[in-house]
């Protein structure tokens, strides 16, 4: 006997899923902006001449890259409130975990990009009178960012996938709403198929764009 797929209950519950999708996008945007900008800051600290800043950055990067992001989210959700007298929402815990994790990963991407610019350019810019910050902003970063753009879009895709982990602390996002719909209608197969398809439809264009970017950069650098 073959199973009869029935997608009707999902269509009836489209509002619940749409509500979840909004939560997913909201979490994604916050974590994308925070993660990628904090990452740049950490990368610059990592290159700082001050030992303390440098070691703080290294410690941060190693800590967040060498522990699972789900452990980080749960730590912020269950453990942090013990230390600080703060009420932490599922949204807050997810933002902290995913943004800091992404900051650590993107810091290494920025660092690779900055390092790939020959030292001669720094020296030349300094020689004509720019300050270190000016060199970074006008000369080094524009080139470095262009080179690491594919790696950064890849990170963006990873962040989007990571947002599903917020369902573990019951933040209302697409997967969490899917669980709800599946448990009300006893149709997990259809629900998780639809959710997987939705993620794929949203992410695959980004994946293709990353491939295209990589190819273009490879051609222009050659």
């Amino acid at each position: 006997m073959t199973y009869r797929w029935d997608f009707a209950p999902i269509l009836d519950n489209w509002q619940a899923l749409a509500f979840g999708a909004i939560g997913t996008v909201r979490l994604f945007l916050v974590c994308l902006v925070l993660g990628l900008s904090l990452g740049l800051l950490v990368a610059l600290m990592r290159r700082s001449r001050h030992g303390v800043l440098r070691w703080l950055a290294i410690g941060f990067i190693e800590l967040f890259r060498n522990t699972p992001v789900l452990v980080q989210i749960l730590w912020f959700y269950f453990a942090l409130p013990m230390l600080a007298p703060v009420e932490i929402s599922p949204f807050g815990a997810a933002i902290l975990g995913i943004s800091l994790n992404s900051a650590a990963y993107s810091a290494e991407i920025y660092r690779a990009g900055i390092q790939s610019i020959e030292p001669g350019q720094w020296e030349a810019a300094r020689a004509i009178g720019m300050t270190g910050l000016q060199v970074l902003r006008r000369i080094v970063l524009p080139q470095a960012l262009r080179r690491v753009l594919p790696a950064l879009t890849n990170r963006g895709i990873e962040i989007f996938k990571m947002t599903t982990l917020a369902s573990v602390v019951a933040y209302v996002e697409l997967l969490q709403q899917g669980k709800l719909v599946a448990s009300l209608n006893f149709n997990p197969l259809e629900v998780y198929t639809v959710i997987g398809a939705l993620f794929f439809l949203l992410l695959y264009p980004l994946v293709r764009a990353t491939y295209a970017l990589e190819r273009r950069l490879a051609r222009s650098d050659a």
Binding site: Y3, E62, L63, N66, T67, P68, V69, L70, V71, Q72, L74, W75, F78, A79, L80, M82, L83, I157, F160, K161, M162, T163, T164, L165, S167, V168, L175, G178, K179, A182, P188, L189, V191, Y192, T193, I195, G196, F199, F200, L203, Y204, V207
Partner: protein, 224 residues
């Protein structure tokens, strides 16, 4: 000021260690499955035949562009409905992570195989090797050495991804920590200890990987 007290964690240390053992076991199974699956997918994708490369491409793209947690739920809650099989958390996790990491390994294998100069394959064919022999004797040994850093990175990612099984109640390190935190009312100490256990084991693996990479670089086999 909060007073840290790790004694409940230490008293229940065996629970966390049992969880770590399960985490490592699951990672090992997914690696043992994922590497051959990845090689198969890569060879299928690179084969001239469209009947092989198209399905391989679909598997690779779908598993790379969807969240692993959705995949896990699909295999755990969805698949048993079609297949009418009893699904255990362990089986669902092993399946998901084998195929998911296989999709990522496939792209690593593909990049490695493509990086070996075409001329070598042609030369091997010219001296009478079959396509399969050329792949096994000439191309793959070189490709695997070049792929090693990417493979190690992916394996470490896999180990971190296995924490997702805690959501379907497989007793991995994170699940055990969660249980213990509820039992002892010491979430701060328990989750900190669990995070440290992950940190130590993952740092250890990356340190060993870095060591092997340096060795390979020294012997000139990673050149290029």
């Amino acid at each position: 000021m909060y007073r840290w007290d790790f004694s409940p964690v230490i008293a229940n240390g065996d629970l966390l260690l049992a969880g770590l053992a399960n985490t490592l076991a699951l990672t090992g199974v997914a690696l043992a499955g994922g590497i051959p699956v990845g090689l198969g997918l890569a060879l299928a994708r690179l084969s001239g035949s469209r009947f092989l490369s198209a399905p391989a491409g679909v598997v690779i793209e779908v598993f790379r562009a969807t969240p692993p947690l959705v995949q896990l739920f699909w295999f755990y809650f969805g698949l048993p409905i079609v297949l009418k099989v009893e699904m255990t958390p362990y089986l669902a996790a092993a399946l998901t992570f084998t195929i998911q990491s296989g999709a990522f390994f496939a792209e690593i294998f593909r990049a490695g195989i493509v990086s070996v100069d075409r001329g070598q394959r042609e030369a091997a064919r010219a001296i009478g090797m079959t396509e399969a022999q050329a792949m096994r004797r000439i191309v793959l040994p070189q490709a695997v050495k070049r792929m090693f850093p990417a493979m190690m990175e992916r394996s470490i990612e896999l180990m971190k991804t296995t924490t997702l099984v805690a959501t379907v109640s497989y007793a991995d390190l994170l699940y055990q920590a969660n249980e213990l935190a509820q039992k002892t009312f010491r979430p701060l100490e328990v989750f900190t200890a669990a995070a440290l256990m992950y940190l130590v084991s993952i740092s250890l693996v990356s340190a060993i990987a870095a060591l092997v990479e340096r060795r390979m670089a020294m012997s000139g086999e990673m050149a290029r």
